[in-house]
C-alpha cells in the first residue's frame, strides 16, 4: 500500500515537472521561447498586425513615412522589426547611407504577400467615367479632375469630381497610388525627375492634386472615409486592392457599391519584414506568422511571387518631392 502511494506520488511529481518544463519553454526569455519585442507596422497592415499582437509581441501601427523619418536618424526607436511595403526599407537604407549612418536594417525578407494598386470607384461614378474615357484609369481621372460631374454627363448633384489617395508623404499605399497615377500619365513606370518636371505633366499633376478634397480622413485613409461618409468624401480613390476587398467584406452595406478598377500600369504592393538591428529573431517570427494572416485579409500569398512592379526608391523619393512642391 505504501509502495503504491509512493509510486503515485512519484508519477504525480513527474507530471508536474513535465508541465513546469513545458511552461518554461513557452515563457519569454527562456530557452526555446518565441522571441519577444516590438514590431512596427505600416498603417495599411493594421488589421494583420492587430492579429499578430500578443502578450510577448508588442505591435505599433504607424505610417511608413513616420517610420522612415524615425529609422533614418542616428537615434532610431528601440524596435525589433518593421512590417511594411517595398521599397520603404530601401528608402531608409539609402537615407542612412547618404547621411553617413551605420547600417540599421537587415535584408528584406522574402515577399510575404502581394496586392495590386487599384482604383476604388462608386459604381455610378464608374459608369459616368467610362462614358468620358475608356478605360477608366488614373489618366482619365486626372483629365476630368478640376471639373464637375455635370461636365462629363453626370448629375449636378454630384458636384466636383473628387479623386483621392492617402498622403504620399506618410502612407506607403498612398505613395504607390501616386506612382501609379504618374506612370499612367507618363506612359512608363520608369520615369525620372526630368519627366516629373515636364510642364505638361506638372500641370496635369497639379490639377489632379488640387481636386483632391482637403477632407482630413481618419487615420489617413481615404478609403475608410469613403466607407464612413460615402461619396461626400471621395468619388474615386487609389489604394491597395487587398484593403479595398477586405473593407468590402466587412462593410458590405456601406461600400458594396465600390467597384475595383485597374487604375493604370501594373503596380504591386509587396509586404516584407525587416529586422531593425542585428537580432533577426523577431523578424523571422513575423515572417513565419504573417502570410497566413495576410491571406485572411485578402492579400495574395501564393508561392513564387516575384517583384515585378515595385518602383525604384529613387523614383518614389523624386515623386514625393514633386508632390510636396505642388502642395506648397
Amino acid at each position: 500500500m505504501v509502495s503504491r502511494l509512493l509510486a503515485v506520488l512519484v508519477a504525480a511529481g513527474l507530471i508536474v515537472g513535465a508541465l513546469a518544463t513545458r511552461d518554461g519553454m513557452d515563457t519569454p526569455g527562456l530557452p526555446g521561447a518565441d522571441p519577444t519585442g516590438t514590431v512596427v507596422c505600416a498603417t495599411e497592415l493594421r488589421q494583420v498586425c492587430d492579429d499578430l499582437a500578443g502578450e510577448d509581441l508588442t505591435v505599433r501601427v504607424q505610417d511608413a513615412g513616420v517610420s522612415l523619418d524615425e529609422l533614418a536618424t542616428d537615434d532610431p526607436p528601440a524596435v525589433e522589426a518593421w512590417l511594411t511595403l517595398r521599397p520603404w526599407p530601401q528608402m531608409v537604407r539609402d537615407r542612412r547611407e547618404q547621411a553617413g549612418l551605420d547600417v540599421l536594417l537587415g535584408d528584406d525578407s522574402a515577399t510575404l504577400a502581394v496586392s495590386p494598386l487599384v482604383l476604388a470607384v462608386w459604381d455610378d461614378r464608374a459608369e459616368i467615367l467610362t462614358g468620358a474615357c475608356d478605360p477608366v484609369s488614373w489618366r482619365c481621372v486626372g483629365d476630368v479632375a478640376g471639373g464637375t460631374w455635370a461636365d462629363i454627363g453626370g448629375p449636378d448633384t454630384w458636384g466636383a469630381v473628387k479623386p483621392g489617395h492617402a498622403d504620399p508623404a506618410r502612407s506607403a499605399g498612398g505613395l504607390l497610388a501616386l506612382h501609379q497615377a504618374t506612370a499612367d500619365r507618363l506612359g512608363t513606370t520608369e520615369y525620372t525627375r526630368r519627366d516629373l518636371d515636364d510642364r505638361a505633366f506638372f500641370g496635369w499633376f497639379t490639377t489632379l492634386q488640387d481636386a483632391v478634397p482637403d477632407f482630413r480622413p481618419p487615420s489617413g485613409s481615404p478609403l475608410l472615409a469613403m466607407a464612413q461618409v460615402g461619396p461626400a468624401a471621395f468619388d474615386v480613390v487609389g489604394a491597395v486592392e487587398a484593403e479595398v476587398l477586405a473593407l468590402r467584406e466587412r462593410a458590405a452595406e456601406r461600400v458594396g457599391r465600390l467597384q475595383v478598377l485597374p487604375g493604370g500600369p501594373a503596380v504591386t504592393a509587396e509586404v516584407v519584414v525587416v529586422a531593425v538591428g542585428p537580432d533577426t529573431r523577431v523578424a523571422e517570427r513575423v515572417a513565419d506568422a504573417a502570410p497566413e494572416l495576410l491571406a485572411a485579409r485578402r492579400w495574395d500569398t501564393q508561392d513564387g511571387q516575384t517583384a515585378q512592379a515595385v518602383p525604384l526608391p529613387g523614383a518614389l523619393e523624386a515623386l514625393r518631392a514633386t508632390w510636396s512642391e505642388v502642395m506648397g
Binding site: W158, G159, P213, D214, R216, S219, A232, E253, R254
Partner: protein, 606 residues
C-alpha cells in the same frame, strides 16, 4: 501681433461657447452613478453635450464588464458633459481649475475634430507639442438645412438640388415665398445659431462662405474679402430670424408652432445637425426623453436639405489626449473603451441615437430613413475645415455682416433686486442688482456699433411722481453712439419697489412694434427677479394673447422677447410662456452668480 489676435479671437470664441453649456464634472458623475471607480483605473471622458447620454449609457455597461478588464486591473470610464469650445480653451490652458470645470480628461470627444486642430494650433503658437492626436471618429452627423416639407417641395425637393444660392435668392426677393407661388408663407426666414457659441452655427457659416466662393476647400482670407462674397453673406444673414446659443431654441419653437398649425410662418429653414432633425421628426425636439414623456411626431415634418454646395460633418473624434496628466495605464484603459465603443453592437446604439456610425461595418438604417426626413446617400460633397487663421477671419467678418439688432434692455429694479447675492473675492457683499448691472454692462461689448440698443427700467413707484411702472433711461439708438452712456446708466441703477412685469413687457413689446424695422432683429430683453406685483395689471392671459397674435401670420412683424429669470423668486414658468408666445427663448439664471454667462447667452441671439 497676428498670433496674439488669433489667440485672442479663438479664446473669446471658446469662452463664449462656455456660456451655453457649463461643465458638470464631479456632481454630474455622482448623479449618474459613475463617481466611484473602486480599484479600477479612472478614465475621465469630456464629451460635447449632444452625446453625453449615449456615452454615459455605454460607460455604465462597460464599467465592471469583462471588456473593462486590463492585464493588471480594470478600467472605469467617467463621462461628463463639456462644451467643445470651452473644453478646447481649458485644454489650451492646461485645464487649470478642476474644482470648477471638472477633472482633467483622459479622453476628449468634441463635436468636431476641428476643435482639436484649433487646440493644436494654439499650443503650437506657444511652442508646445500637439495635445490632440489625429483620432478616429466614432460617429458622424452632417450639417443640413432643415425645412418644413411643403416648403422644400415648393423649391423642387427632392429632385432639385437646393443650397445657399436658393436661400439667398428667396431672402432677397421682395415677394418672398410668393415668388414660388406661396405668398401665404410670407418672407423666407432662416434660423441659424451664433457661430461663436455653436458648432452648428460655425459649420453653417463656413458652408455659407464656401457657397459664396464656389470652392469646396482652401477657403482663404482673401476670398472672404471679395465684394461678391461679402454681398452673398450679407444677403443670407438678412433672412435670419435671430441667432442664439443652441439649435434647440429653433426646434422647440418649431414644435410649438407645429402644434398651433403655424409652423410654416415661424421659419423656412434652420441649419442643424442631421441628428437633431431626426429627433425632431420622432417627436423629441430636444433629443432628451424624460421618463413618461410621449413622443409626438410633428404634423409638418422637417426634411433634410443637404446644401448642393457641400456641407461639413460633425465627426465626434475619440481623442486620447497627449497630456502630461494622462498615464500609460489610463491611455491603455481609454483605448480599451474606444475599442468597446467601436464594436458593431455598440455602434448600433450610435445609430439608434440618430448618428451615422463611425464603424462602417454597421449599415445605415433606422432611424436614418426618408420617413424621418433623411437621405443617407447625401450629402455629395464634404467641405474642408478652413485653417485656423481663416476661421478667425470668418468669425470676424460675421460680426460685421450678421443681421443688425434693435434691442430694448428692460431691467427689473424692484426692491427685491437689492437682496444679497453673495460676496466678492475680496469679501464685499453684493446684491442681485449689483451682479445684474455688471453682467448687463459687460454684455454691451458684444453688440456691434450699428445695433440699436435702448435701456428701460421697471418697478412700481418710478418717476417724479412715483406713479410710473417703467422709465426709458436711454432711448433706442445705434449703440456706437451711446455705448458709454448706456454703461453709465446701467451702473447707476438702484432698487425701488414692486414688479409690474406684465405692464412693462407689453409696453416694451409695443414700443418695438411701433418702430418695427424689418431689416433688423427686433427684440426685448426682460430681466426680472420676481413675479408680477402690480394690482393694476395682473392679466397674464391678455398679455400672452396679444404677444401670440402679433407673432403669427405670414405678414407678421416679429418682436422677440427674451426673458431672464433672475434669482430663486423669479417666475420662470410665466417668463417661459412669454418667450414662447413670441417664438423666442427664456433663460434661467436662478443662481445669481451665473448671470454673466446667461447674459452672454441671451445676447448671442443678436
Amino acid at each position: 501681433m497676428r498670433r496674439i489676435q488669433l489667440l485672442a479671437a479663438l479664446m473669446v470664441c471658446a469662452l463664449l461657447a462656455s456660456a451655453c453649456n457649463v461643465g458638470l464634472g464631479g456632481d454630474d458623475q455622482a448623479q449618474r452613478g459613475l463617481d466611484d471607480p473602486g480599484d479600477c483605473i479612472p478614465v475621465e471622458v469630456a464629451v460635447s453635450s449632444e452625446k453625453i447620454d449615449l456615452i454615459t449609457d455605454l460607460a455604465r455597461e462597460f464599467n465592471g464588464s469583462d471588456e473593462a478588464q486590463l492585464d493588471d486591473g480594470c478600467a472605469f470610464v467617467r463621462p461628463y458633459s463639456k462644451a467643445s469650445g470651452l473644453a478646447m480653451s481649458l485644454l489650451a490652458e492646461g485645464w487649470p481649475d478642476e474644482e470648477r470645470e471638472g477633472p482633467r480628461p483622459v479622453v476628449w470627444s468634441p463635436a468636431a475634430s476641428s476643435w482639436g486642430a484649433i487646440l493644436n494650433q494654439l499650443r503650437a503658437d506657444e511652442g508646445e507639442p500637439p495635445m490632440a492626436p489625429e483620432s478616429d471618429p466614432f460617429m458622424l452627423t452632417p450639417l443640413v438645412l432643415a425645412m418644413p416639407e411643403p416648403m422644400a417641395e415648393a423649391l423642387g425637393w427632392p429632385d432639385t438640388p437646393i443650397g445657399y444660392a436658393e436661400v439667398l435668392e428667396l431672402s432677397l426677393d421682395p415677394q418672398g415665398w410668393g415668388s414660388v407661388g406661396h405668398p401665404e408663407w410670407g418672407p423666407f426666414r432662416l434660423g441659424k445659431t451664433n457661430p461663436n457659441y455653436s458648432t452648428s452655427g460655425l459649420s453653417a457659416l463656413i458652408a455659407q462662405y464656401y457657397a459664396a466662393t464656389g470652392k469646396v476647400r482652401d477657403l482663404s482670407t482673401e476670398d472672404l474679402a471679395r465684394p461678391e462674397v461679402v454681398e452673398f453673406s450679407e444677403g443670407v444673414e438678412s433672412a435670419v430670424v435671430h441667432y442664439g446659443d443652441t439649435t434647440l431654441t429653433f426646434l422647440n419653437n418649431f414644435a410649438r408652432n407645429d402644434a398651433r398649425g403655424t409652423a410654416l410662418t415661424y421659419a423656412s429653414a434652420v441649419a442643424v445637425e442631421e441628428v437633431s432633425l431626426v429627433n425632431y421628426n420622432r417627436g423629441n425636439p430636444d433629443g432628451v426623453l424624460e421618463p413618461g414623456e410621449q413622443l409626438e411626431p410633428p404634423r409638418v415634418p422637417l426634411v433634410a436639405v443637404y446644401p448642393k454646395e457641400g456641407t461639413l460633418f460633425s465627426d465626434n473624434p475619440f481623442i486620447i489626449l497627449d497630456a502630461d496628466w494622462v498615464s500609460d495605464e489610463q491611455r491603455a484603459a481609454a483605448a480599451q473603451f474606444e475599442d468597446y465603443v467601436m464594436r458593431p453592437e455598440n455602434q448600433e446604439r450610435v445609430l439608434e441615437f440618430g448618428f451615422r456610425p463611425g464603424n462602417p461595418e454597421v449599415a445605415l438604417g433606422e432611424p436614418l430613413t426618408p420617413e424621418l426626413g433623411v437621405d443617407v446617400d447625401q450629402p455629395q460633397t464634404t467641405l474642408a475645415v478652413p485653417d485656423p487663421p481663416v476661421m478667425v477671419e470668418v468669425l470676424r467678418r460675421w460680426e460685421e455682416q450678421r443681421k443688425d439688432a434693435r434691442v430694448l434692455l428692460a431691467i427689473d429694479v424692484s426692491g427685491s433686486m437689492g437682496d444679497p447675492a453673495g460676496t466678492t473675492d475680496d469679501g464685499r457683499r453684493v446684491t442681485k442688482l449689483d451682479l445684474a448691472v455688471q453682467a448687463a454692462a459687460e454684455s454691451l461689448a458684444q453688440f456691434k456699433d450699428t445695433d440699436e440698443v435702448g435701456l428701460r427700467i421697471f418697478s412700481t413707484e418710478l418717476g417724479p411722481n412715483q406713479d410710473a411702472d417703467y422709465l426709458d433711461l436711454v432711448p433706442i439708438a445705434p449703440i456706437g453712439e451711446q455705448r458709454d452712456e448706456l454703461r453709465e446708466r446701467i451702473e447707476s441703477l438702484v432698487p425701488v419697489a414692486g414688479t409690474p412685469l406684465y405692464t412693462v413687457t407689453r409696453a416694451s413689446y409695443e414700443a418695438l412694434l411701433t418702430d418695427y424695422d424689418p431689416e433688423k432683429i427686433n427684440a426685448v430683453v426682460v430681466l426680472s427677479d420676481g413675479r408680477n406685483e402690480d394690482p393694476r395689471n395682473d392679466d397674464l392671459e391678455g398679455l400672452l394673447a396679444a404677444l401670440t397674435e402679433g407673432s403669427e401670420g405670414q405678414q407678421t412683424r416679429p418682436v422677440r422677447i427674451f426673458p431672464i429669470a433672475y434669482g430663486d423668486d423669479a417666475d420662470l414658468a410665466v417668463l417661459r410662456r412669454v418667450a414662447e408666445a413670441t417664438d423666442a427663448a427664456a433663460y434661467d439664471s436662478s443662481d445669481p452668480t451665473a448671470i454673466n454667462r446667461v447674459f452672454d447667452a441671451v445676447i448671442s441671439n443678436f
